[in-house]
Each structure stands twice: as structure tokens, then as C-alpha cells.
Amino acid sequence: MTELTYVDAAHEALHEELTRDPDVWAIGEDLGRGGVFGQYRGLQSEFGSDRVVDAPISEACMLGAAVGAAMMGTRPVVEMRVSDFSLCATDELVNQAAKARYMFGGQSRVPLVVRKPFGMWRSSAAQHSQSLEAWYAHIPGLVVVTPAFPRDEKALLKAAIRCDDPVVFLEHKNLWSTSGDPGFDDPPAEIGRARIVRKGDALTIVSWSAALHDCLAAAATLASESSIEVEIIDLRTIWPWDLDTVLASAHRTRRILVVHEAVSVAGFGAEVVATVSERLFGRLVTPPKRLGAPRIPVSYSPTLEDQVRVNPARIVGTVKHMLAHE
């Protein structure tokens, strides 16, 4: 038996939801061809072109139409191809999907999922590489999900489809072919629940999506080379985020580092660090820290692109620096 990959998990989740509920449908470019990453392969031939719908390159209309279709009782899953393209649908997400329930006084809900393959892929440059999860976390009304492992991808995509809120579902482009899970006996993921994927006492690292894998690699190096055991929390959802799990861990280790691929300035790490500082100011023994990208666009050339890439070596260096602080 081969291990489930991230793309298989994504496929299984949608397949199961399309089978379970006739009101679930998917729309996006090239879905009939299986989608850009194969996450939709075979679904159109199985469920028909009216439920797995090929869309024109009209990102704004895809999302706007999904809002109307959700108001009418269906549960659309919108595929944005890569997250950067979904910026063409910002009004539809921010002013319409996120606001409709509230500004109409609860007369309607907008149960839609917008899937956004995101993040750096080798040499995809400034318009195909961004990580903008902090933007979405800032918008009241949205749920923001960022699975790092195949089992979480499956459980959370299914939960997102069943959720009555509009969900921004961020799937990192480097994760599609990955498999494995650090805790196979852990209960299935729920929206809003983080998971401790490595236990340790020296310091708490909070991360999510692809950057979490770099944190795991860094933790292995720290353990084997320096006997430093860090605790790693996979946040799994950015909004709502699991404050209790993060606070409990930081209270115990008394040190916290947030690692993400996104630009550090006003990234979601700032929210986590600010919150932990407000709650645990006297308890912490080192200043809490964020590790993210410098505030420059992503480049094409590998040597330039590497300037914005958080990697295990940088995480190791940051952890050692923090531990040397006191």
C-alpha cells in the first residue's frame, strides 16, 4: 500500500464530498483536464461537467458567481489555479463573500470554499509565489486554512466544504507530491485546532503549511547536532487560530518563534507574537521572534529567490540565537 500524498488527499476529500452532497460542485479553469496539479483528475468524467465545471479565465466572476450560488443553497468549491490570480477576485471575496451574511443581517450564509495553491515554487517569480494568508485573516467573516500534511489536507478540505462560512483554503504548491505525517494516531484535524507535531522543552516554534516542514528539518538538526529539543506547533488554521495550544506551549518553554514563508512585516507571525506578548509578557525569558521573508518581492533567479526563502539553516540559526539570549 502506498502512502497517501497531499494531492491524493485533496482528490479524495472532494470526491467524497461530491458523492455525499449533490449541492457540492466545483468550478475553475481546466478542471476537466484534472486541474493544474492533478487534484481534480477524473472528477469531471465521474460527476459530469455541470458539477465539475470548466470556467473561463474570469477569476472575479468565478468567485462572484460562487457567492450567488452559495446564497441559493449550493456549496461551490472555487479553484483559483494559483493564489496570486485570486487577487483579481478581491472585491468578490472581501466585499461580497465575507460581508454578505453580516450586512444582510443574517438573512443568508455564504458556504463556499476558495482553493488557492500558494507560495514559492522554484523560479515562479513575483506573480506566482506569494503567501498572503495574513490578508485574509484580517477580514472579518473569512475562515483561513493552511494544511501541511496529507491527512490534514483531507480532513480540513472536507470540513471546509461542510462549513457554512466562506473558507480561504491555502494549499502550498510544494506540498502536492509530499506524503507522511508526524503523528499518525492523532485525531482528525478540525478547523481552529492546532497540533503539536514535535515535543520539546527548549523553545516553541509556531508554523504552518510548507514552512512547517522546514521547521521539522531544523528541529532534527538541532536535536542531533546540539541536543536542543524544540516544540513545534502546526497551526493548521490561521483563522481561527488555536490560541490555547500556543499559549500553553509558550508558557511551558518560555520562548516562542513563529516561522512563515510570507513577508515578516505585518505577517500573521506578528499577530501571534503580539498576542503571546500581551498574555505572557512576564513569563517569557527571551523576546518572542518572527522569522519570515524580507519585504521584497519574490525573484526569478534562484540566487535571488533564495534571499526570501526561509530554510532550515536560518531556523537553526535563529533558535540558537534566541537560546543564547539570556
Binding site: A65, M72, G105, S108, P140, G192
Partner: protein, 342 residues
């Protein structure tokens, strides 16, 4: 106008019903819209209604004529200038007034106001503060209707200003490629906010653009409720057969862009000329010609005005939303709790 052959309309006729009763019913709708807005504008001037209010006065024949051809289960998407569509689709003026006054029990619990008025129970899926955004929501609603094989249509109103936004192109294309049950209605009042639309629109406007995308289009005098009704009747029937349609209704705003905009950018002569083309006056004249007693029309207008004044008075006495209400209906997962500033 009556015909009872195998025609295209649901009752088997070739022509829609334009009997005196039918025209009088549309007249009542028009008068109700005008009365509701007249009372609302007075309340705005007294500081009882807040924010921007975009009057529909002068365009009432379009909402009345189109909605006369809709069923309760049909769905309507509106614009920032949405009171007329909302009322004509069947909303309760008392709950509309409560919303405009920002009170509890308003359609949106005081969270939407004039610009986001909506009555989902009447199939009115919202006025929208973003020009053109409703076009895409409307095609999505129609897409869901088709997916679920339901027997209803969507009507989407928008203004002439919306045709220069992307959603007009993306939305009409969407309706065309998927063959959706939708009627688009462009209410061309000649002004996009305070700019004459023709000065900033390349080519021949909505009608030409729709036709270029394979969406049939008809241009009508939107101040003539009879023509609006007749045209809407025919186009609604086509929309019910999954043939998306556009109706361009020429009209004129009697107010500025908002109730507080004096509209000085419009020549007085033009405004005066259009006042003589008032759709309510034209419909009244038609009813009198059909044999209606002018006294009865005056009584109707008085009754309606009193109804709207009563609605405003009870709204002004309505309870305000509580601070806790601000935290309701944000979202299910990750919902905020009411935590006053510390």
C-alpha cells in the same frame, strides 16, 4: 392587447395582460416606491436616516414593469439604488423603514441600511454598494438554479455606469456560455454618479456590448411602464427557457446621485424636460384614458403616502440594536465574542 392563441406567454397568449387592473397594479407599485422614498428623504433631512441614500425617483416604471412579470420564487439582485426593486419584489415597507432608520427588526437588523437593503424571503438577494458586483452574484444564483433544475429565474438590475466595469463583461459572458435563466436590466439614467456616462463610454453602450457577446438585447423607453411591462414579459419568458437576455431601459434620475446631491452638473432645461416625462404621470394619464376615475387615483396615492408615513413613524419609535448585536452574524467558526474595549 389580449390574445388567447397558442402564444409564447404562460397563459397561452401572444401578448401580456395589460388590462386596467394590471396597469393599475403597476401604478400602485410605482406610487409606493415614490412615496416610500419621499418619506425616507424627509427623514434623512431631519437626521433620522443616516449615510447615503440613492433615490430611485423617476425610474419607478422599470422596477414596477419588470417585477410585474416575476413570480414570488424568482430572484432579484439590485444596486445601491435599490429601494424600488426591493419594494416591487414584495418587501414590507415597515421592515424597509426600520432598516433605513437603523433599528432592530429591519431587514438587515440595522447592519445594512439603504445601500444593502435585502429581503431574501421575497427573493430580493440584496442591494450592493459595489457597482457591477451584483451582476456576477446574479449569474451565480442563476447557475445554482440551473444546477438544481429549479423552475425560476434571476433578474439583475444595474445602471449604465456598471457597463464599464469588468463584472459586466465577465457576468454576461458567464450567462451566455452556461445558458442561464437570467434577465439583465440596465437602467440607463444617463449618469454614472455625477458624470454623463456617454462621455466616458466607448462605442454604443450596453446594448451593443451585449449583442457582441451573443446576449440578445432590447432598448426601450423605461419611463413607459406599458412598454417596460410588455418587453419584460417577453424577455422573462425567454429567460425561463435558459436564454439570457438584456433589456436596456432609458430613464432619468429626478434627484442627483444621492438625496443630498443637487445635481448641478445637469442643465436645468434637461431636468425640466425630463420632469415632463415622469413615468408616474404618464401611467396616471394612461389609466384615466382607460376609464379610471381620477378621484380614485388620488385616494390611492393618499392612502399609500399615509402607509409610508406610518411605516416611518413606527420605525422612528423602534428599538435600537444593542452593542451585542454588532457581534452577531459575522461567521460560525472563529466568530468574535462581545468584548468591549478595555
Amino acid at each position: 392587447m389580449q390574445g388567447k392563441t397558442k402564444g409564447m406567454f404562460s397563459d397561452g397568449s401572444d401578448s401580456p395582460d395589460q388590462s386596467l387592473d394590471h396597469v393599475f397594479s403597476m401604478y400602485r407599485d410605482m406610487v409606493r416606491i415614490r412615496a416610500l422614498e419621499t418619506v425616507a428623504i424627509e427623514a434623512l433631512e431631519k437626521g433620522l436616516i443616516f449615510g447615503a441614500l440613492h433615490p430611485y425617483i423617476g425610474q419607478e416604471a422599470i422596477a414596477a414593469g419588470v417585477c410585474a412579470n416575476l413570480r414570488p420564487e424568482d430572484v432579484l439582485l439590485s444596486t445601491h439604488r435599490g429601494h424600488g426593486h426591493t419594494l416591487a419584489k414584495g418587501a414590507d415597507p415597515k421592515r424597509m423603514m426600520l432598516e433605513l432608520f437603523g433599528r432592530k427588526g429591519g431587514y438587515c437588523q440595522g447592519k445594512g441600511g439603504s445601500m444593502h437593503i435585502a429581503d431574501f424571503s421575497a427573493g430580493m438577494l440584496g442591494a450592493n454598494g459595489i457597482v457591477g458586483a451584483n451582476i456576477q452574484i446574479a449569474v451565480g444564483a442563476a447557475h445554482a438554479i440551473k444546477l438544481r433544475k429549479e423552475d425560476k429565474i434571476v433578474v439583475c438590475f444595474f445602471g449604465d455606469g456598471a457597463i464599464n466595469r469588468g463584472p459586466f463583461l465577465e457576468g454576461l459572458n458567464w450567462a451566455g456560455i452556461y445558458g442561464l435563466p437570467i434577465l439583465f436590466v440596465c437602467e440607463d439614467n444617463a449618469f454614472a454618479a455625477s458624470t454623463r456616462t456617454s462621455t466616458l463610454t466607448s462605442g454604443d453602450g450596453a446594448d451593443a456590448r451585449a449583442k457582441a457577446m451573443g446576449i440578445p438585447s432590447v432598448v426601450i423607453d423605461g419611463n413607459d411602464v406599458l412598454e417596460t411591462d410588455r418587453t419584460a414579459a417577453a424577455l422573462v419568458e425567454k429567460a425561463r427557457r435558459d436564454q439570457p437576455q438584456l433589456m436596456v431601459a432609458r430613464t432619468y434620475r429626478m434627484y442627483g446621485h444621492t438625496a443630498t446631491d443637487p445635481g448641478h452638473y445637469r442643465p436645468m432645461a434637461e431636468v425640466e424636460k425630463n420632469r415632463k416625462n415622469d413615468p408616474v404621470l404618464r401611467c396616471r394619464a394612461h389609466l384615466v384614458a382607460l376609464g379610471m376615475d381620477p378621484e380614485q387615483l388620488i385616494c390611492t396615492e393618499t392612502d399609500i403616502m399615509n402607509e409610508m408615513k406610518d411605516a416611518a413613524a413606527s420605525a422612528a419609535a423602534g428599538a435600537w440594536p444593542t452593542p451585542e448585536d454588532a457581534y452577531a452574524d459575522v461567521q460560525d467558526i472563529g466568530s468574535p465574542v462581545h468584548r468591549p474595549f478595555q
